[in-house]
Amino acid sequence: MCENRSSDSLIERVVTLSKKKDLTKNLFVLSLESREPFSRIQPGQFVMLRTSLGMDPFLGRPFAVCGTGENSLELLVAVAGRGTRLLCSLPEGERLVLRGPLGNGFPSQPGKRVHCLAGTTGIAPFLLARQETPKIEVHLGVPGRDWMGLATWAAERIPGLCVYSEDASVGLGGTPLACIDQLDPVTEVVWACGPTGMLKAVQAACERRKLPCWISLETRMACGIGGCHGCVVRTVTGLRKTCTDGPVFDSREVLWNE
């Protein structure tokens, strides 16, 4: 794709992979540069990223933004399939096509203390949140020692980061949910992002404590702009599109897809 074929529609642009940092096996931080500045990106908003090479795979992949500059942004990308494998295999300097920022991020919480609970790459939006609001507390859970690279990198960016692993091989033993019992439902609020199983556990724990809680969902997605209806999730107000109604939802609303 040549430069003048970049999409000048409002939400799509060609970006350059300016830096690729290998955090641990199959986990990368991709830094992307754009000629035009990005509008303000809320923590929890996402982009769809695809290569400009060929058509297989041809759909973009959704990633929460984990860092921004005026003309740049960073994504935390774990290799999960052929799309992410291809994205992570590209050399620096490669041009990619980015759609976004998309969706609704975590709502601002004036006067409340925010506790962010992340499962592995679910820390992405909270890295961005901390970039803007240093008072936010972040708790990261990882499966074990294989994820040390993520924990170390994230701790450099988030002083005071609490890291947990089930076997205590990285940080404390346990999960980020451990903090929920200590939180005050009146003055504190939970934001969570991670695997669905973790989000369900966070939802249940916060419901028990009557803690306000917002969760960022991850679903299969094709367009990211509300066209395909492929990413819907069942909520108390009916089916909602993860891409445009979310990806961040009040946890009390989410009924999942069972």
């Binding site: 367009c223 395909c228 209806h229």
Partner: protein, 308 residues
Amino acid sequence: MSDRPVSSAVSIGGVLLRSPLIIASGTWPHEPEYWKDPICAFVGAACTKALTLHPREGNPGIRLWETPCGLLNSIGLQNPGIENFLRDDLPNISSGDVGVVANVAMESEEETAAVLSRLSVFEERFLAVELNISCPNVDAGGMAWGADPSLAARAVELARRCWKGPLWAKLTPQCGNIAEVARAAEAAGADALVVANTWLGMAMDPVSEKPVFSRKVAGLSGPAIFPLALRLVWEVSSAVQIPVIGCGGVSKTEDALSMMLAGASAVAVGTFHFSDLGCFRNIGRELLEHLAAKGYSSPMDLIGKGKK
């Protein structure tokens, strides 16, 4: 070579479009900004999600499955129902820069008649109705309305009675002889035919050892199906006198040109814009450049040229 200026406008059975590029049904947000320039700058018309009489939740479970150069979908016609559409969506999308084509899912005859009669109240807001006859006819054992010439004719006749404006019939590839279905739809009063809809496919999950989709089968779209759709455009446009709109797997200028050379008067793009919103502008510009280089004054000069 001609010095005449090149116009991108085309006429589809009397409906004038500023561009031969149409946004395929079921793929485009009903949000107002998506029905305006610059996103729609090179688009001649955009189709709504399939509309039904009552709201539909669509299918449970996984709805999307990417395949090599393609996408299986099992959305299940999720839509707000005709009344909510007319109240909440139509005011937003019909005040944009691109014409609205109302895609109507062929349900029972009573339900479809009711939808069309409600749309008729707002007839001036629509360029056309696109009747989706890929849907099952519950009274005929679930066979798709478009699977059989007599069923297709019955569906189109009904729509013709209930909707006086331009009527397009969107055919399904899941039929025995699409040329016969096309001729039946033409005889029943369709003003144009959209060729075609998704191909039924399937995906299996080796981990769960079950089909991926709750309904087992799903519709395949995307660049993978382009040659299949092109063949149907060729066959159908050879069988009927009314205009044909090529729909299936179009992702680049060569595809749009090929559809028109095979007999299409316009070309719909659906799945591909999921990954490239700039495709309309790129195809639209390159189409004009191609026409100018070839000395044509209109995309209509291309229609069916590959058959001559």
